[in-house]
Symmetry: C2
Subunit: 343 residues, 2 copies
C-alpha cells in the first residue's frame, strides 16, 4: 500500500511534473526537472534516515534479489569468508547466491521452525562482512536489534526499511527493494559506507559495482525515474507523519493490537516468539476450518492478502507503513467474530 497523498500527487505528476507541462515519465533523466527530483529524493532519504555523507545513497534499477548476487560479487573474493544469519526463506536465497562467489559461513540459524531470530552465534575467524535479513516476511520474525557481529553488517531491509528509526551503526551496506515501504517495484534503495564501497571489486561491469552508482549519483545509465520520484514522495509523507520515531510508534501500536488479540485468543495463535515478532508481517494460524472461514469473509470487510506464503501456509497480515490502524481494528474484529461464530 501507498499513502493516498502519494498516489494523488503521482497522478498529477504523470501528466505535469512540478508545472513543467511534461509528465515524470516523459522527462529525460538528464533534464533539470528530473535532476531536481533526484536531488530532492536523496535529500529526503537522508533526512528521514538520519544519514550523513559518510554513506552514499543509491538508487539501483533492480529488486533485492539482484543484491543477493551483487553484494558477494563485489565483496566476497577468493580466500574471503562471509558470515550469513539464516532466518528463513529470504536469507536462504541470499546465502545461495553468496555460495556462488566464495566461502559462506552460516553463523546462526532459526532452523527448523524459524519462530525466532537467533540468539547464539558462531562467527568465523575473520568474516569479510556479516549479512542478515532484518525482517522475514514469510515467518513474521524481525531482528529487534542488529546481530552483534564482529565485522561490517550488510542488511537486506526490503521489508522493514523506514518502519522504525534506522540503526546505521556497524552497517556497511543496507539494501531494500522499494515495493514494501518505499514505493513501486523495479527499484531498490542502497545506503552504503563510502569506504566499504571502495573496497569492492573494480573489474566487474560498471552496473555490477556499487562504486559506479556512488560515483555517478545513480546516473551511469537511465535510472527508474518514476521510482525515484515516488520514493521522494513517500519520504515526504513519512516526515509529515513525524519521521521514523512516529512511524515506529505507529507500527508498534498497530502490531500490538493484533498480537495482544492473538495472545488472548483461544483458537488463533501467533507463529513468531514474542521477542522476535515482526511489526510488518504478523503470521498466525487457527484450525484449517477457521482459516478458510476467515479468508472467505475477509474481502467483504475490505481486507485482502491474508493467506500465508505458499511455502508455510497459515495466515499473514502484512501491515506495512501505509497500512492504516483502522484496517488492523477491522481485522481483529473479524478474527474475533470468526472465533466466536458471530456473523
Amino acid at each position: 500500500m501507498l499513502p493516498e497523498e502519494v498516489l494523488r500527487n503521482a497522478q498529477a505528476a504523470l501528466w505535469d511534473l512540478d508545472g513543467s507541462g511534461v509528465g515524470i515519465l516523459e522527462h529525460s533523466h538528464r533534464s533539470k526537472e528530473f535532476l531536481r527530483v533526484l536531488e530532492r529524493t536523496e535529500r529526503l532519504v537522508r533526512e528521514v534516515g538520519g544519514i550523513d555523507d559518510s554513506y552514499a545513497v543509491l538508487f539501483v534499477t533492480a529488486g533485492a534479489t539482484h543484491h543477493f548476487a551483487m553484494v558477494p560479487g563485489s565483496f566476497l573474493g577468493a580466500g574471503d569468508t562471509a558470515d550469513y544469519c539464516h532466518t528463513g526463506v529470504w536469507s536462504a536465497k541470499a546465502i545461495e547466491e553468496a555460495k556462488r562467489c566464495g566461502a559462506v559461513h552460516v553463523a546462526c540459524t532459526g532452523d527448523p521452525a524459524f519462530t525466532a531470530t537467533p540468539s547464539t552465534f558462531q562467527w568465523s575467524a575473520a568474516p569479510r562482512y556479516v549479512h542478515y535479513t532484518s525482517n522475514e516476511t514469510i515467518y513474521g520474525t524481525e531482528w529487534q536489534t542488529p546481530p552483534p557481529a564482529p565485522a561490517p553488517l550488510v542488511c537486506d531491509a526490503s521489508s522493514d526499511i523506514f518502519s522504525r528509526p534506522l540503526v546505521l551503526a556497524n552497517h556497511a551496506l543496507i539494501y531494500a527493494g522499494a515495493q514494501k515501504n518505499l514505493g513501486p517495484s523495479g527499484i531498490s534503495l542502497v545506503i552504503a559506507k563510502r569506504d566499504f564501497i571502495e573496497r569492492g571489486r573494480a573489474d566487474l561491469p560498471p552496473l555490477a559495482q556499487y562504486r559506479t552508482y556512488a560515483k555517478e549519483q545513480s546516473m551511469h545509465n537511465t535510472p527508474n525515474t518514476f521510482g525515484v520520484y515516488i520514493i521522494g514522495e513517500v519520504c515526504a509523507w513519512i516526515l509529515a507523519q513525524g519521521g521514523l520515531p512516529a512511524m515506529g510508534e505507529r507500527n508498534a501500536r498497530k502490531a500490538k493490537l493484533l498480537y495482544d488479540f492473538l495472545d488472548s485468543s483461544k483458537v488463533w495463535r501467533g507463529h513468531a516468539e514474542p521477542a522476535s515478532r515482526s511489526l510488518m508481517n504478523v503470521t498466525f494460524r487457527g484450525t484449517k476450518e477457521l482459516e478458510e472461514a476467515l479468508l472467505a469473509r475477509a474481502e467483504q470487510r475490505g481486507l485482502a492478502n491474508l493467506r500465508g506464503h505458499r511455502s508455510v501456509g497459515g495466515l499473514r497480515a502484512s501491515i506495512y507503513n501505509a497500512f492504516p490502524e483502522d484496517g488492523v481494528h477491522r481485522l481483529v474484529q473479524l478474527l474475533d467474530d470468526v472465533e466466536r461464530g458471530r456473523p
Copy 2:
C-alpha cells in the same frame, strides 16, 4: 513522450486498477490482478510485433546498459568470438562490455564521423553472434535493414523498437530499454529465440540468465509492475493506430517533413547520409549563432530537448512514436523562420 491516452489511463490505474479498488503500484505481483496485466502485456507485445512462440517475450528490470554486459556474460564463452557492428556511442559501450567476457571482433564501423551505417563487412570465422544497434540516437543513423550477418543477430533496439514493422528473421535476441518508445525507464523488453536462450551459460546467478526470465515468465522476483502495465497500454495504443505498418508510415512521414526541409535549406544541414537516416533522431547543424538562436526560441514554440548530445554538439530532434506530426511542422516552421530572420 507517451500518448495522452496512455497517461490518462495510467492516472486512473494508479488509484484503481481495472475496478479492483487498489492501484497498480499496490497490487502484489502474485495477485490475480497483476497476473492479468502481465498476461495482457505479453499478448499485446506479441500481437504488435507479430512474435510467435518460438520467441520468448521477457520483461527485465534494467535498462539496455545492463544487457550490454548480460548478453556476452551469457553467450560469449572462452574460445568464442562475437562480432560487433560499430556505429557510434551506444555500440561502443556494448563492445566495451563484451570485451570483458571474451573475444570481440569489430566487423564493420561507421568511424570516424558515423554519418552512415556500414556497408562493408569483415566477419570473423565463426562468430557466436553478431551484435548491432539498430538506431544510434546520438549520430541519428539507423539500419534500414539488419546487417547481412553469418550468425544469429543480437540487436539493441532501445531507440527504435516498434517504430516500424519488426524484422525477426535471423534475430536471436532483441533487447530494448523501454523509455524511448515503450514506456517508463527502469524496465526493458527482450524478445529472444527460446533455443538461443537455452544455449547460454547456466552457472550464473538466476537474474543474469535469460532462461530464468523465460522459464518463470519474468516472475523469478518482483518485476517492475508499473512498467509492465505501461508497456501494455502503449501496445494497445499502437494497435489502435493501425499497428506497426501504420506507425512506420507515420514515422516516415514525420521524418520526411524534416529531412526534406533540411535538404532544401541553405543554412541547415543534416548529419546522417540519406541512406542511413534515422526516423527517430534527426541530427543537424547550422552555424553556432543560428543554433543558439533556434534553441533560444524553441521553448516558446513548445519544442524542447533540441540540443544535440554533449559528445557531438549540434542539434537533434527526437521524434519517437508518440511525438505528434504537428510538432514536426512547428519545428520546420521555426527552422525556416530562423533561417530567414523572421520573428
